[in-house]
Amino acid sequence: MRSFAAILRRDLMLAVRNQGEMLMVVGFFAIAATLFAFGVGPEANVQSRMSSGVVWTMALLAALLSLERMFALDFEDGTLDQLMLSGAEPAAVVLAKTLAHWLTTGVALLIAAPAVALSFQLPSQAYGALMLSLLLGTPTLSLLGAVGAALVLGSRRGGVLLSLLLLPLYSPVLIFGAAAVEGAILGIATTTPYAVLGGLLILALTLCPWAGAVALRHAVE
């Protein structure tokens, strides 16, 4: 617990000192959405029809962008070796770094999402659903991402490989996240997507720190 708090505090401090990275994630989110708008054309009802999917997909890609660095910097400068020897449970290390990742990028995406949604003419009744689904879904993205980031440590092609590994794993979160928003747009809102997103989060919380810990052990060996 003590080391969990220490790692979390340090990662947040590093994120505050390197604000550029957080801004980059939000910037990517906004730019990718803008490109999407160019791709589908300026017609308001077409954009409105796609808004839930676009916001969710772009948020997912933006989260992916920052994942590669989650363990890579600590791996390259020897910090990861030291963390594995600090007496802390490796799963606690994974969990602390995941929480730090979510607090820096996940929360930044949550803040940026309404603005992007607004530009895509998301109907006003769906903002609550958008925020709630992102709140439930993005921690799962960070948790799965932590496993992926730990797996590719030290590999020859980190970033592209990480996307290849994670995108299939991310598909259920995307399906239910976008469906929650879609349901709110069409006024047929059910609790199913939220229940599944919550279930996925609980499952990821129980399995990912453990799997990530195994992957970190492999990485330092």
Binding site: G154, R157, I175, A179, L200, L207, A211, E221
Partner: protein, 239 residues
């Protein structure tokens, strides 16, 4: 169990199995293909196109089964560190990917006459597509490291993560599909008559034995590659 972990002993069994598997596979193809493609009755709705099923369905089953084999051997490798288990997983991956790819291609060929389009986001096809991506990820991760063992272990862990994920993906796309059912026809509700069961089972058998035979060939190659690697390292260390 531990006896099978010895590569030499294991390969002795694998080599003994090989001629039987290869022979049975050829036999099943020789008997099954003419029945499936010529003599079996056409479907009263789909006509002759139903014959694609005799390749499509066994390929789909094999795609999933080989992944199950891969995940199980990966677990054995990670827990008991039996290299043979990992070599089985590693050798299975391209075969499984091939079956899954075959399933996707035949699914598209079947989709054109049935739905009038080459691709629909049908729940099963989408699940198979995600499975195909998982295979690609597994193969890419296994080859991404200078240190072979590191790649082996990362890939094994990924196979396990994927096996937890696959049922969730399957459930998700099923649900996703029912949500948008108006736009998409489903393959469900298609019933198989008894005359179709025999050629289907023969084709399944042919695919199964084909997998075993090709697996043995790939196992031989993997073990030889490992020997070459060790020999090269030792040569570098002496020189």
């Amino acid at each position: 169990m531990h006896k099978f972990a010895n590569p030499t002993f294991f390969m002795k069994i694998a080599n003994a199995v090989f001629p039987w598997a290869a022979g049975l596979s050829v036999l099943c193809f020789i008997v099954g293909l003419p029945i499936a493609l010529v003599t079996s009755p056409p479907d009263y709705q789909q006509g002759e196109t139903v014959r694609i099923m005799y390749v499509h369905v066994p390929a789909a089953w094999m795609g999933s089964m080989v992944y199950a084999v891969m995940a199980a051997s990966s677990a054995v490798y990670l827990i008991w560190r039996h290299t043979v288990a990992h070599i089985i997983a590693r050798a299975s991956a391209p075969i499984g990917a091939m079956f899954t790819g075959l399933c996707l291609v035949t699914g598209m060929l079947w989709g054109e006459p049935m739905w009038g389009t080459w691709w629909v986001w049908d729940a099963r096809l989408t699940s198979m597509l995600i499975l195909f991506f998982l295979y690609l990820g597994y193969i890419a991760l296994g080859d991404a490291f200078e240190d072979q063992e590191r790649g082996d272990r990362a890939a094994a862990l990924l196979a396990l993560v994927g096996s937890v994920n696959l049922p969730i993906v399957h459930f998700s796309v099923e649900w996703w599909n029912t949500l948008h059912q108006s736009s998409i026809l489903s393959m469900q509700g298609f019933s198989i008559s008894t005359e179709m069961v025999v050629p289907l089972l023969l084709m399944v058998g042919a695919f199964q034995f084909y997998y075993v035979a090709v697996l043995v060939i790939r196992l031989r190659a993997e073990l030889l590659a490992a020997k070459i690697r060790t020999a090269r390292f030792n040569l570098a260390a002496t020189g």
